[in-house]
């Protein structure tokens, strides 16, 4: 049995969550969360931690050189650098709409890379 303590990253409140695990890393008890999303975060964090990635992608013929993007849902932490590599080697032609899918199912994560702002064509 072991206890894992973590700070929830779901919102700026930063609740301190405790998870009790048995010897096979099965969750026995979760305490300290103050919302549903905090409990889910703690479950995920002890099994396979996930994160939303926010970064930017190069825009061709746009009014700005970059468009900010994010993953449409949290992706496994272990894929962060693989996904960053794919994004670094990608570009998109303007105009770009907010919420537009730029890369679908990035690195087979099930998440899409979507624009978080609009970029007009020059």
């Amino acid at each position: 049995m072991k206890d894992v303590e973590m700070i929830c990253i779901q919102c700026p409140l930063g609740c301190k969550i405790k998870v009790k695990l048995d010897d096979d890393n099965k969750v026995l008890d979760i305490s300290g969360f103050t919302c549903k999303s905090g409990k889910e975060y703690a479950m995920q964090e002890v099994t396979d931690p996930h994160r939303i990635i926010t970064t930017s992608i190069k825009v061709i013929d746009g009014k700005s050189e970059l468009v900010s993007v994010k993953t449409s849902k949290p992706v496994p932490k272990r894929l962060i650098f693989a996904i960053m590599d794919i994004i670094k080697n990608s570009s998109i032609h303007a105009p770009v709409e907010i919420n537009q899918i730029i890369i679908s199912n990035v690195a087979n994560s099930g998440a899409d890379i979507i624009a978080t702002k609009a970029v007009d064509k020059i």
Binding site: P12, I52, K77, M84
Partner: protein
Amino acid sequence: MNKISCDLLIIGGGASGLGAALKAAKEGVNVILVERLNIAGGILNQCIHNGFGLHYFKKELTGPEYAANLINLTKDLPIKFLFEHFLLSIDKKSKTVYFASENGIVEIKCEALVYSAGARERPFGSLLIPGDRVSGIYTAGVAQKFINIENRIIGKRAIILGSGDIGLIMARRLTLEGVEVVAVCERMPYPGGLSRNINQCLKDFGIPLLLSTTVTEVRGEGRLSEVITSELDENYNIIEGSQRSWSVDTLVLSVGLVPSTTPMMGYVDIDLRTRGIIVDSTMNTSVPWIFSSGNCVIIYDLVDYVTKEGEIAGTYAVEYIKQKKEKKKIPIKKGIGVGIINCNAWVEQTDLNLYLRSIKPIEKGRLIVKSGNSIIFEGKEQAFIPSEMVHKTIKAEQIEKLGNIDNIVVEIV
């Protein structure tokens, strides 16, 4: 000279100015919003990370998404945006405000003004760090703008001074963009940013956080090549022999924000310690027709608060335009345990939105709002740290039931 007029003039098109514009325009007054850049949204546009909007929009958004959502709400409302205009001066008597623009001076006559110009970063020069004056030293916001907006990388190997949220966010951002971040130094014995950011920006990437440590020298020829850090004792004096040398070409500073109030000096009362504009519970300044909201008043933790405060400024600016009635103000005093606080006075018949930070970490304490021996509000026992702002709304009735009072004291005991 270009002369125009409006009911309400708002200076600053960021999260707070937009909030003020929204509320005021919904009340039917005509609004002119003046912004120095060519787009609205302010600093949100370069904060491409997520974590915004949980309170105001009830969902987690990135900075540009929060800005886009807010700008969307202003559509179809009587708000005229004037971009690339910069505040020059104010004529208090005639309620006329002068701006510089590409087409010359613009003169705007208004009934009321909301000043929401945000904050600026504390610069390297103010830290008095000895050594060479080299390139490769950036404030976090400037580094963020280079990377997120201008598509420029700022260096190869970086050290970060200051563990405020912007510094932590930049540690992750630099790492994702291939810059090696060797450490984040913090002169205080506790971190400056939110716990969640220590977790997801530093721990996720194995970046060390060095507490009670600061930068004591910068060296290089032309470009930064070496940073010296030193550990500090409990009185913030350098511990001899604790010096460490870091071979880096980049130093990123996240050493705090200062309210941007220089253009307002001489027009409204400003807190000489924090440099924030002094306002009451209606966001009214020392001048009846001038209101102010956002980070030019106090540095907030959450952009959601900044928009909410803008809405209050907009609401009461409209009330002033329509009624021009003076209301009684009760001063609010900072009691023990409180570091900084907004607002400065309670106006009768209004709800009191208190935002405050403790003066130091307090393991167990209660927030108490009182007048004389009468308790207005007593919070539950909780932990306080200066980096996490406390927000409490007290309804007008709760204060009014005490009858006549001379002052309100806020303390953490």
